[in-house]
Symmetry: C2
Subunit: 427 residues, 2 copies
Amino acid sequence: MNKKVISVGLIGYGTVGRGVVKILEENQKIAFRKVGKPIKIKSICDLKPIDKTELYVNNFKSIIKDPEIDLIVELIGGYEPARTIILEALKAGKNVVTANKAVLAKYWDQIFTAAQNCQKSIYYEASVGGVIPVVQGLSEGLASEEILEIKGILNGTTNFILTEMTQNGVSYQDALKSAQNAGFAEADPSFDVNGIDTANKLAILSSLAWGGWVKVKDISTKGISDLKIDDVLIAKKFGYDIKLIGSAQKTKDGLDLSVQPCLVHHDNAFATVEKEYNAVMITGKDSGDVLFYGKGAGQQPAASAVVSDIINLSKFIVTNTAGIVPDVIYDKRKKIKILPSGRSKSPYYLRFKVSDKPGVLAKISGILGKYKVSIASLSQPNADDSEAQIVIITHDTLKENFEKALKQIDATKSIVKSKTVKIKIEN
Amino acid sequence: MNKKVISVGLIGYGTVGRGVVKILEENQKIAFRKVGKPIKIKSICDLKPIDKTELYVNNFKSIIKDPEIDLIVELIGGYEPARTIILEALKAGKNVVTANKAVLAKYWDQIFTAAQNCQKSIYYEASVGGVIPVVQGLSEGLASEEILEIKGILNGTTNFILTEMTQNGVSYQDALKSAQNAGFAEADPSFDVNGIDTANKLAILSSLAWGGWVKVKDISTKGISDLKIDDVLIAKKFGYDIKLIGSAQKTKDGLDLSVQPCLVHHDNAFATVEKEYNAVMITGKDSGDVLFYGKGAGQQPAASAVVSDIINLSKFIVTNTAGIVPDVIYDKRKKIKILPSGRSKSPYYLRFKVSDKPGVLAKISGILGKYKVSIASLSQPNADDSEAQIVIITHDTLKENFEKALKQIDATKSIVKSKTVKIKIEN
């Protein structure tokens, strides 16, 4: 190949896009040493004009059509036109780097089938875990493994909010404001705080680990926006932090997939993951536990991961070998069996706001017992508003039994005054 | 390529070699899904006959000469004939997988120059950190980064011994016996306990990070074999564990390279790394801290990493693209500047066995002051043998000043009764 430079077309010039341009400029010697040719950004497309006027184009199609461009970086996020850009770029013979977890999780089948058919590469390390190289760690580093479990704190925004709540005892709303002020939450944080972003990332890791297509809709997903500071503080007294955990576990009856706030004991490695940091624990049959940890949000970490992808892919572009070895081994025919969410088993934390009458505890424990929910410990902490409350930690419980019990308890107004709080406890 | 199978020649049938054969058999479906062809071990060479008689050959040269073999796995360890095997295999057009950190660290220049000249690949993920994919994480995952620091617990044997000493309060000798019984220390553990194995791994990571050849002789290396249980227990009371840390830090005057036992505070992530586990923290300018953690010793984790390398390399062999993109970007001309070990700065833990006479403390602090060693805290714990002792934690100190002070103190028999114990404190 006689190209003198690797030409990059960048689509999306937001926070991460600007970070990519900055790092590519600052670290051009590092990139050159690894690729053997300079990497240059030839065009940048964004909805509105940008400071780098000489590179600006207002239509992504002109980037895709440009025969000089080798590699397209998609950083606009969301489903459309991101999906169109990626598919059109592959068809036009371009290699692609993206940080877009939403489009990958939703169109996994379409995107990786297109990449295989076009024999082009799509790198997406920045889509999961920010700067942590967990996509590669899972798909190549643990290539030989039968993966048993993937568990992670995969969203920097929610982890920042939960850390604020835990460390400063502030409400969810106040913690969200702190995260927004620190630049770790967007004006509309709903995709982060409702768990969708974590579910997208878990779907990507699970699809990689088990070689089929694990869909976001198969993941039982609950966010943190209705989490009460009371529960954070009570959990803390019991030796737990609350973290938003994405979890995929291989069971004999199918994959057990969930995203939910969980009580994590202080001894657990996840409890030490604070602020915008992420961590992913992958358990293989022969490897045992392997943990990856690093910054999951922020301009520099995200942009760093994108630039690493650009460099790694450029090495193959220079030697005319990009896309020959598929990056994702995806077999359309492989069906992944999913465990129905009710069949999931774990211990739970329950907080009941109760009527302060005799016999209430007996009634609660009676109903729990009827549905085989076994109590590990029970306490009656003082509530600030001086309402009576009961906190119960259960043993391992089948989710469907447990929900039936709670439904019955919550329907009985003579027992509880409001909906019972339930939070999974991480083993 | 019309090959029906990927043919592997295995040289070295010890613990890890047997693990490789077992995992390749058990996980052949996983391997096939990723490679698209079956991987078969065609020949195994070892010094003495093996149970798999149909595969046994007694001379590695017949494996290297075999035109059907695509990939040679070197698992004999040590310098020779490992070096010859790797170089001859590359020359014969074979790709290579090795777990041999000693040969890589010592012959980095020769081996990677040969790989580039022969356009063949050499994968060596299992050589550092056992099952942890840190070689790839550093060279690809953090490809865009200016690496500022690498720090790691890189030897499972010594970490197992140190964990035994810390948790059970036993002597080095007893802890070593436990490690041998548990299968985590060899009959002759000297390469592990004297720090050489850690230095080999640090040299590999540093060479990768800074793109030149960092030699083992440039790493100031101290092992754990003269570590006293007294210091482990005193450190514990002060809130520290003792760990063998390999550290490479970029400073304006060159790389600061060391392997030594260090006091690590209980708040530090390294303090939670127990038994045979390893951990590596890599700090990049844009990425910040990225941590990798997993099993650093044991048959299955080591063999798993080797098989992952075999699978990843086979994907390129199948498509005739192995070795086209060099695995290690090594530039012979790049000189790495090394900081003289005396110019290294850190706080220290000191334990003096002193004469129980008035004025001793004044003399010690006088000499320390003369050489600009500033005391952060001082205490006089009871020694079991009822000898008087003084423990001092210093502020950041230039190593050469500090050693001059200790030399003078240790030479003064009226002050100390035996050689002063000094251990670096991790910041």
